[in-house]
Each structure stands twice: as C-alpha cells, then as structure tokens.
C-alpha cells in the first residue's frame, strides 16, 4: 500500500518533470532576459524529451 506522502510516477512522468525542472534551472542560469530564457527553456525541454524518447527506442531491440 502506498503511504500518502509517497509519489508514484511512471517513467515518462518522471522524465517530463526532470526535463522541465532542469530546463528552467539552465535557462535562468545561462540566459538573461525573459524572451531569451523562455526560448532556451522551451528548446531545451523539447530536446530533453526527444532525445530521451529516442534513446528509449534505440534500446528497445536489446530488451527482447
């Protein structure tokens, strides 16, 4: 049974949260100005997801 304070996330949910949090942190640390930051955060978030899903598919044949 899951205690009330325990989080249960799927692999994809954990990856999305990870990508979002890291993108925001990188965007604020490496860029100045709201426009540049927003663009960097969005671009970085999309790349995190695409590369994550791509690596997942690249490993798929080895799991069978």
């Amino acid at each position: 049974m899951t205690p009330p304070h325990e989080f249960r996330l799927s692999h994809f949910q954990a990856m999305v949260i990870f990508a979002l949090v890291i993108s925001i942190a990188f965007g604020f640390l490496s860029r100045r100005g709201p426009y540049k930051r927003a663009r960097y955060i969005l671009w970085s978030f999309i790349l995190f997801l695409l590369i994550g899903v791509g690596i997942g598919w690249a490993m798929y044949p080895f799991s069978h």
């Binding site: 325990e6 249960r8 996330l9 890291i22 942190a25 604020f28 640390l29």
Partner: protein, 154 residues
C-alpha cells in the same frame, strides 16, 4: 595669433576609450574579492539560492531554491536512495558526493524519508536519480554564483 586653439592641439589627453584604468587591480582588492566569492559559493552550496540572493539576483535565487527543493521532495517522496558516507563501491561514493551537493537539503531529504529508501521498484530508482540531480544542480548553481562574484560572468 589665433584666439582659439583647436582642442586636439591643446592637450595630450588620451581618448575616452583608453581612459579606462590601465593599472592592474590591487592585490589586496583581488584577495578580498576572492574571499567574498568563496564565501558566496559556500553559502550557495549550504542553502540553494542563497548565493544568488546575496548577489541580489532574486530570480535566479528563487529558481535555484525551488528547483532543488522540488527535486529533493520528489526524490525523497519516491523513496530514492540517499547515499551515506560508508559507500561500498565507487558508484556509492560518487552518489554520496552528488547527494551531498544539495547542502542542507541532504538532511531534509533524509528527514522526508523516515521509512528509508525502496529501490526494489523502478519508482525508487527514479527517485535516486532525482536526488542526485538536485545535488549536482545545486553545485552548478554555486559555481555560477562564484563566477559572478568574481566578476567573470553576468
């Protein structure tokens, strides 16, 4: 004799662009700034966001604090492994270094996990990664605050 002498011929003053101090920074000032930068880096490591707050970079301070806090809360809530000093192998030792990077939040994570880690499920494994990420992210933020304090970055 002309009444007005052209300005360029009156003085041999250097142009404005070259008027910036050509002298190196005094060693005492440099040492003081280095010491201040180290103090800010230590503060940034100890409490995420504090280094940037001391530098009056409020947005970055808020983001550093909230992202590290969120990762620690999620990682501990997913019952990720918080490595201790007595790691058996190199990976456990590296994990300890990464976890310790979160500064005081390392102990917060321990306090949030009274039942201890559970890596028998994938969920706990994801939590371990999130906790390590929180530590590494905080170290990166502390390094950024250090560089800003040394006036190497904006």
């Amino acid at each position: 004799m002309p009444d007005e002498v052209p300005v360029a011929e009156t003085t041999d003053a250097v142009p404005v662009a070259q008027a910036v101090s050509p002298y190196p920074e005094p060693a005492q000032d440099r040492h003081r700034r280095d010491a201040l930068a180290l103090t800010i880096a230590a503060a940034a490591w100890l409490l995420p966001g504090l280094g940037h707050a001391l530098l009056k970079m409020w947005g970055r301070a808020l983001v550093c604090f909230s992202t590290v806090a969120l990762l620690v809360i999620l990682g501990a809530g997913m019952r990720g492994n918080i490595f201790s000093r007595n790691g058996e192998d190199a990976f456990a030792k590296l994990g300890y270094v990464a976890d310790l990077g979160a500064g005081s939040f390392y102990f917060v994570a321990k306090a949030l996990e009274p039942a201890g880690p559970d890596v028998s499920h994938a969920n706990g494994d994801y939590g371990t990664r999130l906790l390590a990420t929180a530590g590494v992210l905080n170290m990166l933020a502390a390094l950024h605050a250090y560089e800003v304090a040394r006036a190497r970055k904006a």
